[in-house]
Symmetry: C2
Subunit: 384 residues, 2 copies
């Protein structure tokens, strides 16, 4: 791969011309002070209280004054200042969603269903990208502590600060996907990583694989740790000896898949299948294997985890664990909404673990033990 670069064009200039033509009319209305409720009140010949009521409590004002106020609002182009309103209401009707990285397509569906639920209940949503960077986390902590949001959805699996948890007394926090160490009494909506990983591993065993490697997620990541456990559960359940050399430290990115491939080629006794803890890792791994002349699934089988969109258009289409992302988002949103409702008593902080489904596609083939009695038995067990 090389970069074939040629500057096609650089900076346009048309703006300068436009700017000059725009300066000629001597500033129609000057940087006009934004229109407030007082302007509307004056114009409609009522008090500000009446204007406020006409907007928020129709029924408390005559139909006649109301229409007069609405006309004044339309004429002036008034929009209530949300900051003032929030100050008075001590609430912003806004939820902050903290993610470890916004650009990842894994969030796509979750974000959408999340937003649907929250906006249905009248909440706005803003997203924050922490990149697991303490400075960034501190920035968002300030956003929360300073009362800018009414609730917090935490996807990151980490808190900016050990004391952050005390916020739970200020605003509700709901964890999504990731446990946060040391916070057992925050509600969590996640998946059953261990069971899902075990199921995929059993599927691989059922296809006749006996030497199965696991490309893990990031070190210290709670979900990744659960997936490792599930992988081990399944191996142990099938009576397959554990081989530490088949556990490859990875991450949730394609580069970690490439590193996994290096491990693969370095082994004398290579695995016949690799179960990756993320689709991104799996795809990076497949690419690296193919680059070295192997084919998937003929030479090696590879399975992933997550079910991102790209895994379906890869060649081969990736066999993977499909996370119920839409439901995850919906439940997380509903949970938070309930806890933000100050009128009702808060529901108990339950931990919800959703089931995943296997998405069998084309990246896993039969292993050396396929067709044997043991394989069939394992297969049947996996499909129960």
């Amino acid at each position: 791969m090389f970069i074939h670069g040629r500057p096609t064009a650089t900076v346009g200039l048309s703006g300068r011309h436009l700017q000059m033509t725009r300066r000629i009319p001597p500033a129609p209305p000057p940087p006009s002070r934004p229109v407030t409720i007082h302007d509307v009140a004056r114009r409609a010949g009522v008090s500000t209280a009446t204007v406020s009521r006409a907007i928020g409590n129709p029924g408390q004002v005559t139909e006649e004054t109301r229409s007069r106020v609405l006309a004044a609002i339309r004429a002036t182009g008034f929009t209530p200042n949300a900051t003032a309103r929030n100050l008075r209401a001590r609430s912003t009707k806004t939820v902050l969603v903290l993610l470890p990285g916004l650009g990842n397509s894994f969030w796509n569906v979750i974000i959408n269903s999340l937003e649907d639920v929250l906006s249905e209940h009248g909440y706005g949503v803003i997203f924050g990208d922490t990149r697991n960077d303490p400075e960034r986390e501190a920035h968002y902590e300030r956003l929360v502590r300073s009362g800018q949001v009414d609730g917090l959805l935490l996807f990151t699996g980490r808190l900016p600060h050990p004391d952050f948890i005390q916020l739970d007394r200020t605003i509700p926090i709901t964890l999504v996907s990731n446990e946060v160490p040391g916070c057992p009494d925050l509600p969590l909506i996640g998946i059953d990583n261990r069971a899902a990983a075990a199921e995929m591993t059993r599927y691989l065993i059922g296809r006749g694989h006996r030497r199965i490697a696991h490309l893990t997620g990031p070190h210290g990541h709670p979900e990744a740790a659960e997936r490792i456990k599930g992988y081990r559960d399944a191996l142990a359940g099938a009576g397959i000896a554990h081989d530490e050399a088949l556990i490859w430290p990875g991450g949730f990115d394609p580069a970690s898949g490439r590193r996994g491939a290096e491990r693969f080629f370095a082994l004398a006794d290579r695995p016949t299948a690799v179960f990756a803890a993320s689709d991104e890792g799996a795809l990076g791994l497949i690419k690296a294997l193919k680059d070295r002349g192997l084919s998937v699934p003929e030479d090696v089988s590879v399975a992933g985890f997550d079910g991102i969109e790209y895994s379906g258009i890869y060649d081969p289409a990736l066999t993977t664990v499909l996370q119920p992302r839409s439901e995850l988002g919906r439940l997380a949103g509903e949970n938070l909404v309930k806890r933000m409702d100050r009128s009702a008593p808060p529901p108990p902080p339950a931990r919800t673990h959703l089931a995943c489904t296997l998405l069998i596609r084309d990246s896993v083939g039969d292993g050396p033990a396929a067709g044997r009695k043991g394989a069939l038995r394992a297969n049947r067990r996996a499909a129960t």
Copy 2:
């Protein structure tokens, strides 16, 4: 592909137990009213004004009172209420970034560099996902009109409302990537789509292709339209007759690539190369071609546009147009920061068009005219 589903587990119950143990201590401090500047003032034995000054204008208070105030702040755990502060300051030091869809990995790099620049200048960033849905757009319009943000970065190429532009007199707006129809005097940071598309098309011609199809972006999308123009420019420049049957309506998603493949197979006189207006479309197209038994680039060449991460780990690695995403984000951020600075005169609303680079990888092979004199000439021209 079929779904091999088995409910591994459903809902955990540990929460109920936790809840019960948690209820026993009789609510240590009741839902304590958040601590305000008055609490700090009282504790430090000074006025609220002094507290405020101790925080914001050190130097205006004695070192001794200052430390006393800081001690009181630490003791009470005080964090200034940002809503009140914003109300008074008539500014929130926050920027809203509106995207047509957050989950797309194309935004990854842009978002990061954007955030870096803005936070360097003391601005927070919040993201909004419009999905090109008028209702959602209206929601964010309210956010802007109600003074919740100081500036707006618009990636969506559309305005919620024709009058939205008047906001330009309220808060600065900077367009990124996409022109908005009818808004010639908003500054824009984008790329030179036409030149880049022409360059890629010339590269295909240079590799000996003569029948080149173009899988377009979404109908009506300004950048996609420019890319079509560039494609046509290059064909015309090489004296290749235009064939309307080779322009396939697409989108920025893999599904549109599949539809493109259907067009491909429906043609009697098939193209030898396809230039897609997006990587996502290109990948979807390749997958569909391979599913029908063709190989890329041996049977057909495919080129993309954007340079998303996945294009590099695909098999074959995609030859594509690399957008300078990091620079795009940085310039957009800097432009907006300058315009939000009320002390300096606003810079003229220029339109900046950055150059892209070709990323030559493995998805384009030689066409039937390769090696011929004309091909060489075209090739040389493309590489100038």
